[in-house]
């Protein structure tokens, strides 16, 4: 089964600070994704990648950057965190079927 891990699992940040969320997958999937989950909105796509060196904007990319330095790693970067970015963030990998990581709970104060 696909293995996707995320770090940190919980993060408290201050407004205006920089936050980096990391994701690692061990199944050699080309595609990786970052979502945020908020009550009433389901899972919304922030950024995705088709492979090392590639990043694409999803539906809600504003305020977020992404980096895919290798096949295994995909990071989500909040350069200037805001309270509206308080959410649970999920990383996923795969194509037809997506395998999700355990999530990162981010609180921006």
């Amino acid at each position: 089964e696909a293995a996707v891990t995320q770090s940190p699992r919980n993060k408290v940040a201050v407004t205006g600070g920089k936050v980096t969320l990391s994701c690692n997958q061990t199944n050699n999937h080309n595609n990786m994704y970052w979502y945020r989950q908020d009550t009433g909105h389901g899972l919304r796509l922030i950024h995705y990648s088709y492979g090392a060196g590639s990043t694409e904007k999803g539906d809600i990319p504003d305020g977020y950057k992404a980096s895919r330095p290798s096949q295994e790693n995909f990071s989500l970067i909040l350069e200037l965190a805001t309270p509206s970015q308080t959410s649970v963030y999920f990383c996923a990998s795969g194509a037809g079927e997506q395998f999700f990581g355990p999530g990162t709970r981010l609180t921006v104060l």
């Binding site: 996707v4 994704y33 909105h41 389901g42 796509l45 079927e97 997506q98 999700f100 999530g103």
Partner: protein, 111 residues
């Protein structure tokens, strides 16, 4: 554009009763539909998937049939159990590798 609609935000049922969670979609491409289940404080996991029109697909007692004529992929189970309490997401994959998720339906099963 591509989208998924789940009309019920919250469904509460007594154990042993049947359930149907609604999912309709909009796309101009040939659709691939998914149901994901997310238990409390866990990651979403795939429950069902289908791209075949009018063919029932089943897994873990749940079943769904993709109906392209009505753009629907409703999730059903004949007898819900306490362990079925979870958040259920319908998702659409158009002809490229991006999923569009519905807003989710929280199913609560009571004794």
């Amino acid at each position: 554009g591509d989208s998924v609609t789940q009309t019920e935000g919250l469904v509460t049922l007594t154990k042993g009763l049947p359930v149907m969670l609604n999912c309709t979609y909009q796309t101009t491409y040939s659709p691939f539909l998914f149901w994901y289940v997310q238990h409390l404080n866990e990651a979403p996991k795939l429950l069902l998937k289908s791209s075949t029109d009018n063919k029932r697909t089943e897994h873990q007692g749940f079943y769904a049939t993709l109906h392209k004529s009505s753009s629907s992929f409703h999730l059903q189970k004949s007898s819900v159990q306490l362990s079925d309490s979870a958040l259920y997401f319908c998702a659409l994959r158009p002809n490229y590798n991006v999923l569009y998720f519905g807003s989710g339906t929280k199913l609560t099963v009571e004794p």
